[in-house]
Symmetry: C2
């Protein structure tokens, strides 16, 4: 085909992808509105509006014209397009294939089960009735296995589920990573539990007015470089980062007057996500090439700021006085060292979302092992609560007294999101690996943080991660940025060094 | 066709109309978000998102399947469908015809000119440069005349433009109505101007904290029966009533600390619109049969509350103490009578949106006369500023010193909305006519208002107007509710009686 024609086809593809992206942005605003703004009485009408919009998005995604354009482009000569253009074409193909390979009835059954599943799960969790939720879970494993056969017939079903959140990741690779991590963390957590060192974190409790918490979160988010001209910060039941566009990024948090660290760290975490969105490559904002790479890489950006920066000592040194200024009745006589220790207390607990840096990966590994055995048939849904509780006892020394505190705690499975959990810990690993490179690139990072210069961190992340979009695979990105593919030992060494020091071990 | 088949076709039509209505609701939320929430930096991406959604809505509106269903239904036997069903079919046909009769290029040119026109107008108004806006206006009159030829070829072009806001209204009917109104109002306004009676309204100025204004507006909106479980109240540059659904109605106002009456009356006005939306027939919320009837009838609902209720003496009697309680530093020694007089001061001014009850219709008549002569060619765009200023001087005794204070003041023409202005005054006439009937139905309305019972008013409007949707034409509705079609003399008599009394005339 003459080059002019092929360029014209590419432009048509771009128009179609931009249209879908813009309608997806509308969905993003509607979702944010639902969580933050919408009056309660609109729940039913909103569900129907979002279903109608989802239907339109689906129509656009499976549009045969779109498939035709992709097919005409995918076998072009390599030098016909730039790297950004090729990535656009590849991403369009991956998405189109995923959307069109699944039979419509299966898509609908999964959507319906997800909608019903969420209600059943919420009630079952409230009433501690796992048996009510079990049939949903059983059906979901069947449906998601079927889905996998259509989507990625060459893969194991659970690998296919992993792949949509962290493309390229497989059980063959992940199991030894998690096994190794588990073998290192469990003894470390046990040593901490048995240690006499009990850092005081009682001074983090108090009475912190919400307007002051909000102003504090806002100001630290600004320090991190969040652009409030292209974003907002609001309140929702569960903190999240949403919005409609890289120029319209909306983070949320929630406030409890007894504790300001929780809301503040939620702000920092969500700002990390938000900076990724705001930092996307400027000239392809409405194309998949600029989209965040994977769930794990997205999580690496929030955890970078939350764990690697805000839970680091320099951050405590920088912000202690600010905290004291905002809340003059509290933190009296507290040192930066004590603050650092208090926000890094390791304390095994039942609930993942409340877990500390060290026990969090154990929660994830537990879920990964369970999901894997549910998909390979070695664990039956009816045996799930026992399996969960046995593992919790084995790994963290705690046995949940109810399923609400155990297997029913997470929302993910109620929507059929299997394979999602590993992203959290893979994200922590990437964050750590990126951080280790950043402190080589910018040698005086600790001093800069102590002086309040967080901008250099944002710039480093912008240039190394955010603007890369989907040009590389996660491993390629890690290699490009740090010189090596994902290397879990960096994370393990970081955790051991940090927590051995805090708890005076070895 | 067998009745079962025809019912099935009707159900298919309903599904298509519901889908379009739901996507329209999404647009409503996006529009509200843009005005109230959206960060400034998202303006460009939002414009493209809304254009994408508008494109989808257009696709759905001109879907040939939709036309096929309508054609199969429109010639059914009268007894095949209920009144609600027939109305649904008729409304679907009107909308489909309007959407499909206009050539695509004309639709696009109008949309583009509207988008550009708004920017040009805003700048021209700011810089007082009518000559910059004139070419837009000239082009719009050509395009809207062409549009009229396609949309309603049997009508005069300006009648077609009137019809989309107030269906059935024509120049033949409206001109004598407005001529008569003008002949009554101008001498009355002149008498007031020459009268020695100058009611004191200086006590309405002061320093009114915004949080207190907000709480007051919120509480009066609640008194009126606005359901905050299915609605919200927020702040925007221009007050409006929007949202995504009758279960998600969002009113806005704006605050100035110097004056609380303006924001409060905006709340009352928009609540009147909001109650119409919330009061729609409950079993057809996503179908056109339940939609508000016309712009004038919608405006009748806001003006009913603003003019007929809140500017009435009983309202001053009821709320004076509340105002004094909320703003204890102000309104000292003011009586209900003085408050009533102060909020009914008649004072000719240049700007329509700031006009009082008596001079407002004059602003409308001026615009109507000008639009009419622009469309019939007796007035050229270049002569518009002089024509405007001459009329202002003749009717209200004021000559604008700039076009910013004159012909450039309104946003409507920049988007091509000709034929819209008369709705405001027709709405005032309907409001007055409805009110006159309500006080016959509920004899002790003044006493009820004085006791704070506004609920009976909302119920009367719910039953007589809101739940009627589009079952009747405006005249049929007026006749059903009041026993006669639109009768402008009721409005004229009301104004003369009220303002003669306030100003001690005759």
């Amino acid at each position: 085909m003459p080059s002019d024609d092929i360029k014209n086809i590419y432009r048509q593809l771009v128009r179609k992808l931009e249209e879908r992206s813009r309608l997806g942005g509308v969905m993003g605003v509607m979702h944010w509105d639902q969580e933050v703004i919408m009056p309660q009485g609109a729940a039913e009408s909103r569900a129907m509006q979002m279903a109608a919009l989802a239907g339109v998005l689906h129509e656009k995604s499976v549009d045969p014209c779109l498939g035709g354009l992709i097919n005409k482009l995918i076998n072009s000569e390599p030098d016909e397009f730039t790297g950004v253009e090729w990535c656009t074409i590849r991403e369009a193909k991956r998405e189109f294939d995923l959307e069109t390979k699944i039979p419509k009835e299966l898509v609908q059954e999964i959507a319906e089960l997800g909608s019903r599943g969420h209600q059943v799960w919420a009630k079952a969790r409230e009433e501690d009735r796992f048996e009510d939720f079990a049939p949903i879970l059983e059906r979901f494993i069947i449906l998601k296995s079927k889905w996998a056969e259509h989507a990625f017939p060459e893969m194991e079903p659970y690998d296919a589920n992993l792949d949509i959140y962290e493309r390229g990741m497989t059980m063959d690779r992940l199991s030894p990573i998690f096994e190794n991590l588990k073998n290192e963390l469990i003894p470390l957590i046990r040593s901490i539990k048995n240690s006499d060192m009990k850092p005081d974190d009682s001074f983090l409790e108090g009475d912190f007015p919400i307007d002051k918490q909000e102003a504090l979160g806002n100001s630290i988010s600004r320090d991190m470089g969040f652009n409030f001209d292209k974003g907002r910060m609001d309140v929702s039941v569960h903190p999240f980062c949403g919005g409609g566009h890289p120029t319209d990024v909306r983070i949320t948090t929630r406030y409890r007057t007894e504790n300001f660290i929780e809301s503040l760290f939620a702000v920092i975490h969500e700002t990390g996500h938000g900076l990724y969105e705001q930092g996307r490559m400027a000239d392809s904002l409405d194309l998949p090439v600029s989209e965040p790479l994977t769930m794990a890489v997205h999580e690496s950006q929030s955890l970078f700021w939350e764990r690697m920066i805000a839970q680091g000592k320099s951050f405590s040194i920088r912000y202690l006085d600010k905290f004291k200024e905002v809340f003059p009745d509290f933190l009296k006589g507290v040192s930066a060292d004590s603050l650092f220790m208090a926000i890094n207390v390791c304390r095994p607990s039942f609930i993942r979302v409340e877990a500390d840096e060290l026990t969090y990966p154990v929660h994830i590994i537990l879920r990964y092992e369970i999901e894997k055995s549910l998909f390979d048939g070695t664990l039956k849904v009816e045996d799930l609560p026992d399996a969960w509780n046995d593992k919790m006892e084995e790994y963290l020394g705690l046995r949940p007294s109810t399923n609400t505190l155990g297997v029913l705690q997470d929302v993910h499975w109620s929507g059929g999101a299997f394979g999602y959990f590993p992203s959290y810990t893979l994200g922590a690993m990437y964050a750590c690996q990126f951080y280790n490179k950043m402190i080589v690139d910018i040698k005086d990072i600790p001093e800069r943080i102590e002086q309040g210069d967080l901008a250099c961190i944002k710039t480093w992340l912008n240039e190394n991660i955010h603007c890369q979009g989907r040009l590389y695979s996660p491993d390629q990105l890690a290699e490009k940025v740090t010189g090596q593919i994902l290397e879990p030992d960096i994370f393990i060494n970081y955790l051991k060094t940090k927590y051995n020091a805090i708890y005076g071990l070895n």
